[in-house]
Each structure stands twice: as C-alpha cells, then as structure tokens.
Subunit: 204 residues, 3 copies
C-alpha cells in the first residue's frame, strides 16, 4: 500500500470515529437528527479544517472534496440508528475519541512536514488538529473540553506526533512510522484510562 | 439592480440583523454598552470572516472595508437605545437570527461558487458561514448553540444554499435564484417555529 | 533599540503573561500539569494565530518558530511551581491579562498596518488579536468571556490600538508610539478596575 493511500484511509477512519463521538454526545443531550448530524460533522471535520487553515492550504480538504462531509454524516446516521450497538463498547466516546486523536495527531504532523514546517511546529500542528475536533464538540455541548481535565490526553497526541517525527528523522519508513505512532498514541491514551495513570496535579 | 449590488445589500442586511440578535442576547445578560457592541460585532461579522478564511480570501472583507464593523456597531447602538421597540416583535432573537441565517447561507454559497468550489463544498460553506455567527454568539454567552438543539435550523440554511445552487444549475437568473432561496430558507425556519415542526429525535 | 526588536520583545512578554493567566485559571480548576500547559499555550498563542490567519500570513509565527510555544509553556511551568508567589499579586489573572491585552492590541494593529490594511481594519484586527487569547481561555473554562461582562476591556484594547495608529498618523516615531500606546491601554484597563469606572449599562 502506498503511503498516500494509507493516509487517505487514516483520515477517513479518524473522521468517522470523531463523527461517531460527536453524534454520541449529541444523542445524550437528546438533540434532533439534524443537530446530531451537525455535531458529528463539526467534530469530524473541524480538526482537519483548522490544520488546513493554519497551513494556508485553502479551501481546506473538507470543502474541496465531499468525502469528509459524507463520512462524518454517515457516522451521525449510524449513531442515530445503531446507538445501542455502539453503547455496548466500554465508554464509547472515550474510545472513539482516542482513536481519532492518535490518527489526527500523526496525519496533522505529516501534512505540516510536507508543507515545510520544522519538526517542533509540525508536532504542535499535529496536536492542534488532533484536539481541535474534540474541543469544538465539547465547547458546543457547553462542557469543559476533555483536553483540559483528562489526564494524558494532549500528551498522548504530542507523544504520537513526536514519535512519528522522530521515526522519520531516524530513517524509519513512512508508513511503518505512521502506523506505529498511531498505535502508540492510541495505546498510551487507552492505557492511561484503563490503569488510571495520572499526571501530577497542583498541590492544594 | 445588478447582482453584485444585490449581494452587497443582502450582506449588509444580514450583518445588521445578526448584530441585532447578538446585542439582544447581550442586553438580556445585562452586559455594559461595550460588551453589547462586542457581541453585536462578533455575531455580525464572524460568519463572513470564517467564510473568507476558509476560501483563503484574506484579509477578510470585514477587515478590508469598514462597513461590516460599522453596520454591526450600529445594530448594537440601536438595541441599546430602542430595545423596547425591538422587543415588541414576537421572539426577536429567533426572528432576526432566521433572517441572517437565510441571507448568509445563500451569500456564502455564492461566494464559494465564485471561488471555484464544487456545489457540495459551496453548500457546506454556505451552512458554515450562516451558522458561524450564531454559534459564536451562543458560545460566548455560554449557551448551547441553537444550531444543535433547535429543530430545522441548520437544515433551513442547508435548504437555502442547496436551493440557490440548484436554481443556478437549472439556469435560473442569479438574482432571482438568490432572493427566492433566501425567502425559502427564512420561511422554512419561521414556519418550523410557528407550526412546531419537528425532526425525529432519538428514541428513548 | 530597533523597532523590530522592540516588537519581538513585546510579543514575548505578551505571550508569557497571557500564558500565566491561562495557567492560573487552569490551576483554579485543578487540571493536571498537562491541562495547565495546554491552557497556558492556548491562551498565549491563540491571539497571534488568529491575527496571522486573518492577515493570510500562514503558517502563523507560532508554528514557524518554536518561541511562542516555548514561552507559553514556560509560563505554565512557572505557575505550576510558583503559584503562591504569583498569587501575592492583587487579582493576578486580571493584572496579567491586562498587560497581554495592551501589548497584543498594539502589536496586532502594527502587523496589520505592515500588511497594508487601512487604519480602521488594523485597529479592529488589533482588538481581535488582543481579546482572542482571553476569549479562548474563558470559553474552554466554560466561563463567560470577560470581554463581554467586564467594563472597559475591549474598549482599552481599542483605545490602545487607535492611539498607536493615531500617533503614527501624526508622525510620532514608531517605538515611542508603541510603548506609549501599550502603557495607555494597560493603564486604562487597570485604572478602570482600581477606580471602579463603569460604562453605561442598559436601563432596567
């Protein structure tokens, strides 16, 4: 599989799982079907839009092709009809959000490197595009974004993007670096939830 | 009347009514005069700014000309002095918001088509620029954006933008298509509120 | 000191104090160390990012150089370890926020003038970049942004940016105009808090 195709696939999966997470939040708040679609699309495409805006790559992918919109809408429809199925997952919003987080961190970092940013800027852009969708979802639902109060959330995105940039630096092949970094970021996020890892909190 | 002039006029009216809606929300929260102006300007110009950013048309109109700022500020001042007059309207924020919604959906779609986007991307951009101002207004007032919980809100914007793009496709003259699509979107929104039309909500 | 160097220094100070203010808010909410860093960085760099986006200067400074990220992160670390020291200040978030507000209003206005905007657009961009970081900070912490409910907040940013543009118009030397305008804006904001100056509120 070529690298370009791999990243198209990753982007699609990331958009879909973020769309699912947005739709799940909208279902809990009992919005109607179109409110659910709006939050699914907003959560699915916002991170990529912010990434493209910051890189000066306008109009962003989500407006140039119909796929991000279609994929995120499909996620919203899936949640509307098959919510009980998704709810059998353990903490579905957390899980879906973690997968999207890892994918967009690496994909955002890669696009920034292709656009000529240095590694630190590229890693920061990866983090921004990874957390962007979730921040918009939580703000629109008037909740404190989980990037602020969940332990090891932005840190997992940072670790994934930095691992990817580091692997490329040491000459690892692009697709291996990408898949490894995504698994690393998602695994770190899930492990931190599963095992209750905590970062230091401020002293009282 | 030329098409360009018609759209300048529509943009002005949309900015003004969104400005009024932002100022009304600020009045209810009892902000001071400058807080009212800030929310009027933010609500009036945010949608257009996001539209221009996503199209790569920088600096956006609202910074290149003084009109959007002046019109939205005027709306803030009007509300400060003539609030009782505006409050005689039935649900003024909803009504003003509906007019702005329809106008910006069509105007955003048109600008995107002029910039060479395909119809689906142009319709999506129309929806984003139509709901952008209201989302910022509601988020800044720490309310759940009405695009999420009001029935037939984003759907009305989508219907207006799609109707406009569809009319052009079938060769309808630009200004007729624009006016018709705006009336259709505003009418759909108002009718849904008046007659209590609902979209399906998720099953319990 | 050259003008360019002065503005680099001002930008650094503004990023640092905004970073401190974001970290202080995060500490109060008892986020963990990384949540504190995220809010410090978001508050410190958001205003400048929005400014660069609106000017079409992409990728923004905060991604092209590592300094804004490093400075805002340092602010987060400082707050984590030395919070008691900062808390001895009278209303530290208000004070730090005021300094950042004045600096970014003038720096944003200057960059906009360099990019060829007219004075009104440049002043508006100064206000947007001055209030942008604080709005994001308050929205992420699910508080009503202080730009809406604090008397003489956006007005202080507007006064600073307008004073700077006005001084240049009358031929005052750039660095003198800049320092004077920053002091004027910060002083106006602090004086309004200290002496309880109020803008008119809407009649009951």
């Amino acid at each position: 599989m070529t690298v370009a195709l791999l990243f198209i696939l990753l982007d699609a999966v990331g958009t879909f799982v973020f769309g699912l997470s947005g739709a799940m939040v909208a279902m809990r708040r009992r919005f109607d079907i179109f409110g659910i679609l709006v939050l699914a699309v907003a959560t699915g495409v916002a991170g990529g839009m912010v990434r493209d805006l910051l890189l000066g790559s306008t109009p962003p992918d989500a407006l140039r092709t119909v796929w991000p919109l279609a994929i995120a809408s499909l996620a919203g429809v899936c949640v509307f009809f098959f919510k009980p199925l998704i709810e059998r997952l353990n903490r579905p919003v957390m899980l879906l959000d973690a997968i999207g987080l890892g994918i967009f961190a690496v994909a955002g970092c890669r696009k920034a490197l292709l656009y000529g940013l240095d590694a630190p800027g590229a890693v920061l852009l990866g983090v921004i595009s990874a957390v962007g969708g979730g921040v918009l979802r939580d703000i629109m639902a008037t909740e404190v974004p989980r990037v602020l109060h969940e332990d090891i959330y932005a840190l997992a995105a940072l670790a994934g993007a930095a691992a990817y940039a580091g692997c490329l630096w040491f000459g690892v092949q692009d697709s291996i670096a990408a898949v490894g970094a995504v698994i690393f970021a998602v695994g770190l996020r899930l492990a931190s939830v599963r095992f209750g890892w905590h970062l230091p909190h401020p002293p009282k």
